[in-house]
């Protein structure tokens, strides 16, 4: 009987492992390499499936005053980030490029002002704003004034007009 019980437990453990467990890992090392040359469409965001990375991105978003232009996703001087319109591409690499190199009409280049791993964290958070990331990775409300529905309660809005498979 006992042996059978252990087998159940084992199965449960394996099942949970297969469910994908890296969402909670916290890699403090980050990437430190200076060569930020990214082939568009090739690189993937290391933090896109990682709750901690997205959470760090959310903190940086406030600390670096992204709020100043984009508000809390609703847009202001800059475009809204919580909708399904991605002017410069919705794939990981494009979002990275947008932050790192800037875009015309006001988006500054942050490539020299924040590190690469921070850009990835920010990019992951930006992707989470439209509810695109897995449910268990999306951030919840912050400890300040409420600005909108928390990311994990928003309806997911897949990017519009993005080339098929760009997310892959």
């Amino acid at each position: 009987m006992i042996g059978r019980r252990y087998r159940f437990i084992l199965v449960a453990v394996v099942a949970a492992l297969l469910g994908g467990c890296e969402r909670e890992a916290r890699s403090f090392k980050g990437r430190t390499s200076a060569n930020a040359s990214k082939e568009p469409g090739v690189s993937r965001n290391p933090y896109a499936g990682n709750a901690w990375g997205v959470g760090q991105g959310k903190r940086l978003y406030t600390l670096y005053n992204c709020v100043g232009c984009h508000a809390n996703g609703g847009g202001g001087m800059g475009p809204a980030l919580m909708d399904d319109r991605w002017i410069y591409g919705s794939d990981d690499a494009s979002v990275f490029e947008t932050i790192a190199r800037g875009r015309p009409n006001g988006m500054p280049a942050f490539g020299s002002r924040i590190t690469e791993s921070q850009i990835w964290m920010l990019a992951a958070y930006v992707e989470s704003m439209s509810g695109r990331l897995p449910m268990d990775v999306l951030p919840s409300r912050a400890d300040h004034m409420r600005y909108s529905t928390p990311e994990n309660s928003r309806r997911a809005r897949p990017p519009q007009g993005a080339p098929k498979g760009a997310d892959e």
Binding site: R26, F28, K29, G30, T32, S33, A34, Q56, R59, L63, Y64, S112, R113, I114, T115, E116, S117, Q118, D143
Partner: protein, 338 residues
């Protein structure tokens, strides 16, 4: 016989443990090594508590030992013995109640003395907790700006200092064992406490409330100096950063201002004015780096800048990619910022 042996063994263990414990009351942050009024009062109360408790403990153990080894008699089962035992229990209960009342009174008296300083406070310091560093802000030195002294609190000797505690993120706790007990830093609230040091020196403070990954590496130094020296220090802190003196330091400044460093830190007198991380205007004059984690020396600064995540895993400070020459220049510049 077995029980005698057992008793001896117990005593030996207790004695060994006690001698291990009485390793002296020194050390950099010992509760019984007070350097200020509040800590002194608490230490006195602590000694009283320990004395009373030790006596009670020894009494209980002695009575237990007697109860175990005493010779049994015929009369043990009698009603009279039962009555006597009941009386003994009642007496012991009354004695412990009175002890409790006494200790509560002693503690209330000491507590009352801790609520506020005798005289007016010399200065007020805002203590702001961050994950995982301290910001000490002196707001009453000049009307429009404040002096920020991260991870290093300077106070004048012999004068009460008001402490206003607040937190930017999670709950921390401000604690300088040599000076006073703890006060929590709670987001959404400002609470007050005070310290007063009567012995010059450098005392270490610690975060005493679990605040995340680097709770262990969130310390600070309290520098107690004469009022004159304190005045000189604060005047110096008000000044802008020193200018770089040579080519390398100039290069270091330029690298700093053009790199991610300037996105988070302030160096007054330059364009770097962000309050995400600690103010670096006078970083060269501080005793430690990374909130009391490393001594502020050139090699340690190099280690810290080269790979903050291995010194303090989880800190918000990233490793900023730059060439060794650039980093050397930045280090030279930061050390210039006395």
């Amino acid at each position: 016989m077995g029980r005698r042996r057992a008793l001896w063994a117990c005593c030996a263990v207790m004695a060994a443990a006690a001698s291990a414990a009485s390793a002296g009351c020194a050390g950099p942050h010992h509760v019984f090594d007070p350097a200020g009024g509040p800590a002194r009062d608490i230490a006195a109360l602590g000694r009283l508590l320990f004395a009373v408790c030790t006596v009670i403990y020894l009494l209980v153990i002695a009575v237990l030992a007697w109860a175990l080894v005493r010779r049994r008699t015929e009369a043990d089962g009698s009603v009279e013995t039962g009555r006597r035992l009941t009386r003994a229990i009642a007496a012991a209960t009354i004695a412990s109640t009175m002890t409790i009342v006494g200790l509560t009174a002693a503690s209330a008296v000491t507590g009352h003395g801790l609520t506020s300083p005798m005289g007016p406070a010399a200065i007020t310091v805002d203590v702001v907790g961050h994950q995982w560093w301290w910001d000490f802000q002196f707001r009453d030195v000049s009307p429009d700006e404040f002096v920020s002294s991260p991870n290093e609190l300077h106070v004048p000797l012999g004068q009460p200092v008001m402490i206003k505690t607040m937190s930017r993120d999670v709950i921390h706790s401000f604690w300088v064992p040599n000076l006073h007990g703890k006060r929590d830093l709670i987001p959404g609230q400002v609470t007050n406490t005070w310290i007063q040091a009567d012995r010059p020196g450098v005392y270490r403070g610690l975060c005493a409330e679990f605040c995340g990954h680097e709770h262990a590496k969130m310390a600070f130094e309290v520098v107690v100096e004469t009022p004159q020296k304190f005045k000189a220090w604060i005047d110096h802190q008000r000044e802008s950063a020193s200018e770089p003196a040579d080519y390398q330091e100039r290069r270091g400044r330029d690298v700093f201002l053009g790199s991610p460093c300037a996105t988070c830190h302030t160096i007054r007198g330059t364009t770097a004015a962000s309050r995400v991380g600690p103010d670096l205007t006078h970083v060269g004059s501080r005793m430690t780096l990374a909130a009391g984690t490393l001594p502020n020396t050139r090699p340690h600064l190099a280690t810290w800048l080269g790979d903050p995540q291995s010194v303090k895993p989880g800190t918000l400070m990233p490793a900023v990619p730059m060439s060794d020459a650039d980093r050397g220049a930045v280090i030279a510049y930061l050390r210039r910022l006395q």
